[in-house]
Point group: D2
Chain length 94, copies 4
């Protein structure tokens, strides 16, 4: 099935593989008894990379699935937009 992110699938996979590598790097930092503030700083940078992925996926989703739904019917459009609004709340941890 085609999704909003289909065209950038390869790009998201590359970013997530890089994030996976960073999480492995955090494990090495712990194993090597690295200085705690350095590890926390690295955690903050991984967190930001993940939120970039979330923002990008939401963007694709809006530009494709939501736009398609809005064109097909008001009810469909409204349902998809409701779902996006609740997803935004989850990302903001509200």
């Amino acid at each position: 099935m085609t999704r909003g992110y289909s065209r950038s699938k390869a790009d998201y996979l590359i970013r997530l593989r890089k994030i996976e590598g960073q999480v492995r790097g955090l494990q090495h930092m712990i194993e090597d008894d690295r200085w705690c503030p350095d590890i926390v700083q690295q955690v903050a940078s991984v967190t930001a990379a993940l939120q970039e992925v979330a923002a990008g996926l939401l963007d694709c989703h809006l530009q494709h699935c939501v736009l398609d739904a809005a064109r097909s019917s008001d009810r469909e459009g409204r349902a998809r937009l409701d779902e996006v609004a609740s997803t935004i709340r989850q990302v903001l941890r509200l």
Copy 2:
């Protein structure tokens, strides 16, 4: 002009007036030399209330302005959705 939040305008004004009162309350806490962690906890609760307002406004905006734009033309819809995506990035501080 009608906005997505027009029907809930009174509700948003009530919430923002409450938040304004809480910010004044923070000033009193500082003036009264209150215990620092108590003030920070109160700041965190005002911050969450503000992000609830942001999430609510985005929701109204999606359900009205963006849906209308998507119905009127693809180009309009896309432009509004691009704007929403960049607003979400600002809220997430990316």
Copy 3:
């Protein structure tokens, strides 16, 4: 009573009064039916200003109250640091 933020009390009051003014500004934006993404962007900037206040207060608290407690006794120091850790969790909404 002297608090960690005592010397910068005036500075915090100025910042909080500015934030109070910005929250009133948000109310005017709603009253004037301003464009929703512009309001959300302004909410994001008030939120960041509040978190700056929280980070600053935590900083003062660590440099004064927590340092004093750590010097007076291990038990006191530990108790204050526990409290700081739980305050950090509240700010991060965990």
Copy 4:
């Protein structure tokens, strides 16, 4: 060298390995063309798990390295607390 998190090293490694698995899970969701809001919700949950790790590491760091530094000298204590304050700012993305 002993760090604040030394005693809970095994626990942090378990948590980070679980997070690494979740990031791999996100890649499978992308490969399987899963529904975008479901992926974003999962990203939000990984982000929260990472921030829990950051908050926990800061906590250990305060209870050990910072407390030790504060006991050894005022100057050392102040330097470590300055560092913690700047780390908190990075976590809050300020």
